[in-house]
């Protein structure tokens, strides 16, 4: 009897390990995560508008219909990236995601405090390679460190009422993400 209980207990223990292993492994097996869905509609290192969500069709679930959104799918393997996003009349935010959809950094227009949000995105290795004199001027520019070489930048502009949507879309059309010359 004790022997069976021992087998049962070891089964439960192993079950716990299986549980944690599957939870941790799951994000890397997801083929329909947001990064994969957006990769299907966007080229690398350029800003494209995300179609507005509707009842029939939505690129991603749980998008806020009060916002116009644009996305830049980035790849930092060649060079760091420069992002410029003009600020819309109401509210603009820029959120950075890894290729596993982890939101590692987000900033809004007030925190950026300018007429446009300007950021340099690079990996830790690229930041370490910045020449010293550039590091002094780096105080003027905002550097965001990406934990992964690829990921997403999502720029969102609020249309505080439906009539403001064209203005929000227009402000996003001025957004750029470009690899920096080395």
């Amino acid at each position: 009897m004790t022997r069976w209980l021992l087998w049962l207990a070891s089964g439960l223990l192993l079950g716990g390990i299986v549980h944690f292993a599957t939870i941790l492994y799951l994000p890397s097996t997801a083929t329909q995560n947001a990064y994969a869905r957006i990769s299907a509609i966007s080229p690398v290192n350029s800003v494209v508008a995300l179609p507005a969500p509707s009842a029939e069709k939505s690129v991603l679930p749980l998008m806020d219909p009060a916002f116009a959104a644009a996305v830049c799918r980035y790849d930092l393997r060649e060079a760091p990236l420069k992002l410029t996003a003009p600020v819309s009349p109401a509210y603009t935010s820029v959120t950075f995601y890894t290729n596993k959809d982890v939101a590692y950094y987000a900033i809004n227009d007030r925190a950026a405090g300018r007429r446009s949000i300007e950021l340099d995105l690079m990996t830790a290795a690229q930041k370490a390679q910045l020449p010293d004199d550039e590091e002094i001027s780096a105080a003027d520019r905002l550097i965001v460190e990406s934990p992964t070489q690829t990921g997403l930048i999502v720029i969102r502009a609020l249309a505080s009422e439906p009539g403001m949507m064209p203005a929000a879309i227009a402000s996003l059309s001025g957004a750029r993400c470009q690899p920096q010359a080395q």
């Binding site: 679930p61 939101a103 505080s160």
Partner: protein, 192 residues
């Protein structure tokens, strides 16, 4: 022989318990770092690099992009104040005051996170377009048929989810429930 049966038993228990609990965890929302006020729950940590493994697994499966903490915080309600699932065939009143934020939006989704179709093409309200009461409080009626005031069409769906997003808001990982985070009540008025 007994060793073999014992091993098989252990493996069977491990597989069913391990995979069963994983499947169960994916049906539910992550319990870690949640912040509940009345009918509303937020997961401020999900919008940061400190996101917990359960939330990561959920997001990878649903395909959503969580709201970044520097952008704001999202509160989700799938039940009313009494714990009954939100039913699109009922008149539900969302009323009261909202926490501090530069802007907020309230959006109605079906359980899959899709918008619900309606003739008005109205899927939610923003803080700018809503008609407030004289004391500044909000009152929104979620109902299948037109109502006076701030009417949010439910489309008559079985179940729906309300998401209230607060943009540029001080609510964060360190927030506590209570006076600093007042959320509107969610009450069923009548059911047809």
């Amino acid at each position: 022989m007994r060793l073999l049966i014992g091993l098989l038993l252990a493996f069977a228990v491990a597989a069913s318990v391990g995979l069963g609990t994983t499947l169960y965890a994916l049906q539910e929302s992550t319990p870690f770092g949640s912040f509940t006020v009345g009918a509303w729950t937020a997961w401020p940590r999900t919008g940061t690099a400190d996101i917990d493994p359960y939330a990561r697994a959920l997001i990878a499966r649903s395909g959503e992009l969580p709201m970044g903490a520097g952008d704001g915080v999202a509160f989700v309600a799938t039940k009313d104040d009494n714990g009954a699932a939100l039913d699109g065939r009922c008149d539900v009143i969302v009323s009261g005051v909202t926490p501090q934020a530069r802007f907020w939006t309230l959006t109605l989704y079906d359980p899959e996170g899709k918008l619900v179709g309606n003739a008005l093409n109205r899927h939610g309200f923003s803080s700018q377009e809503i008609v407030r009461k004289s004391d500044g409080a909000i009152e929104i009626t979620v109902a299948p048929r037109a109502r006076t005031g701030n009417w949010l069409p439910s489309g008559g769906v079985d179940r729906y989810t309300l998401v209230m997003r607060f943009y540029d808001s001080p609510i964060g990982v360190a927030s506590r429930t209570g006076r600093e985070t007042p959320m509107p009540s969610v009450k069923v008025q009548s059911c047809t």
